[in-house]
Symmetry: C2
């Protein structure tokens, strides 16, 4: 049996995990992400942590297949990172650099794309070969797996589905600078924004009017308790999500759609609501798509990162 590491670099913490070749997660831990000075300490910190782990556990280096790493930005299939704004990184080949620091083979990818690969391998998309993964969190991200392989895209931005346009009449700008992106409506932040707009524009009584700091969870909870305005707000979100996912599926024709991220904790009501609208818009030949919830939570990225080095 051989082993390897999966690493998921976030803006505040780096997640590391030690895997057996068959994908069993044996151990996991975190490091703070040191973004000072253009994030120059991040890769040396990871290398030192891997080295310390091997020494502490007396693991011989020849048992290690390599390190897979996911980063919050575009990564091309040759390992070139194309700017990670959160980390202070510019353009460089992360595979070569981390390999130089550790002596192990390294494969890299975008974090959301690798979470997709992880979910496809061991999570909600297990058993499916071609999968669309959407993470509905603070923002909306995603990744596409086709025939078991990650879609990197020409500029490392394959599966950047959160910035597809869903409402060309939007007046507010998205974080990306465009207007009307999916992220503005279907992220946790977007759902709260829609809820606030809804409540401001009517007088209908609602449980949500008593909530001090309105959260996405509060909207789902109120809807579950039968609150009509909350239900209408979510119906709007489901309509956006259904149309958005139908459009992606009409391009990719996947076996499965997997929903992850904080918003997906809403579970079955979310899946059912989205599928209802999805079926209105999807092309008939593409319609028999399986919908599932992500199951790996915050570990999806390290699973996917490790899967990369197995290929």
């Amino acid at each position: 049996m051989r082993y390897g590491f999966g690493v998921d670099v976030g803006g505040t913490t780096v997640k590391l995990a030690y895997f057996a070749e068959d994908g069993t997660l044996l151990d996991k831990w975190e490091l703070p992400t040191r973004t000072a000075e253009g994030g120059r300490a991040i890769l040396p910190d990871i290398a030192a942590s891997v080295e310390a782990y091997l020494q502490r556990r007396s693991i011989p280096r020849r048992q290690i297949m390599g390190i897979g790493i996911g980063v919050p930005g575009p990564v091309r299939s040759d390992g070139t990172v194309n700017r990670c704004i959160n980390l202070g990184w510019g353009v460089f080949n992360i595979e070569k650099e981390l390999s130089r620091l550790t002596g192990f083979p390294v494969k890299a990818g975008n974090d959301a794309t690798l979470a997709a690969l992880g979910e496809c391998w061991k999570g909600g998309g297990q058993g499916y070969d071609t999968m669309v993964f959407a993470t509905l969190g603070t923002g909306v991200g995603g990744g596409i797996v086709i025939g078991g392989k990650v879609l990197y895209g020409t500029h490392g931005a394959g599966g950047e589905i959160g910035h597809m346009v869903i409402n060309r009449k939007e007046r507010q700008a998205c974080g990306c600078g465009n207007r009307g992106c999916v992220e503005q409506y279907c992220s946790a932040t977007g759902i709260v924004r829609l809820a606030k707009e809804y409540l401001e524009n009517c007088d209908t009584p609602s449980l949500l009017r008593n909530v001090e700091n309105l959260t996405c969870k509060a909207v789902f909870d109120a809807a579950a308790a039968g609150d009509s305005p909350a239900k209408e707000i979510l119906e709007q979100v489901y309509a956006y999500l259904g149309e958005f996912l139908a459009n992606i599926c009409n391009v990719i024709d996947p076996e499965a759609v997997v929903l992850g991220g904080g918003v997906s904790k809403a579970g079955i009501p979310l899946l059912e609501g989205v599928q209802r609208h999805f079926q209105k818009h999807v092309f008939h030949a593409v319609a028999p798509v399986h919908f599932a919830l992500a199951t790996l939570g915050n570990d999806a990225g390290t699973y996917g990162a490790f899967k990369l080095i197995k290929e």
Copy 2:
């Protein structure tokens, strides 16, 4: 040098072409598509035509690499045709069937997808590895090439981009049964429909009011002649196309977008108009996409079909 055939089955004619291994088109001809009795004569007609061609030209069978064939319906990567309504075909493995009839290896794909592969290999997308192809004709079709390979999709409907939703408020139904599909606005038929609606809803003088049977070409001609209503109609079409193509590119992150089909004869004004709106909507990392016009015309499908058997 070896040789092979590319076949493109349409609703009224079957196009056949004889290629050298390097992709030189040596000869081409057509047969009528006999759709009677569930289209049972179509494959035997093709087999007989191939056989007659080889005999007439005294070409030894061992020089033939095989036959590639494109059909107007979903085709899975294993060669299963999943209903071709225009041809009367149900579900069967076309690769096995045509191979049995001819004795040659056969590879099959969807016609628009194979036109994409053809344009990527020898046409407007030459030199690009990952390409989105949109055919703007009577309908809107398309195909996706990723890393030089066709995206078949799970149900043989990869790249069915003409039925992406672009206007969820549409009241009229699309041919596919849904509402608000791209095809309803950006096909030749759709452009004429938009033009008629525009002219009915205003009194602005326009060259188009004198045209008896309004065509898509008439709208482009009037716009080129400076007709304001025609220009506004096309601006609407460019806005739809720009948004639609940006959404596809945000999923795929291709090197190039190639536009084909009758509408693409409008040429540079179309390319410029579309790109102007595309840049408003596309995610910044994906933005450096090359736009090009298709160059192979009606031969794109046979080029792509032949390319399939080279793989």
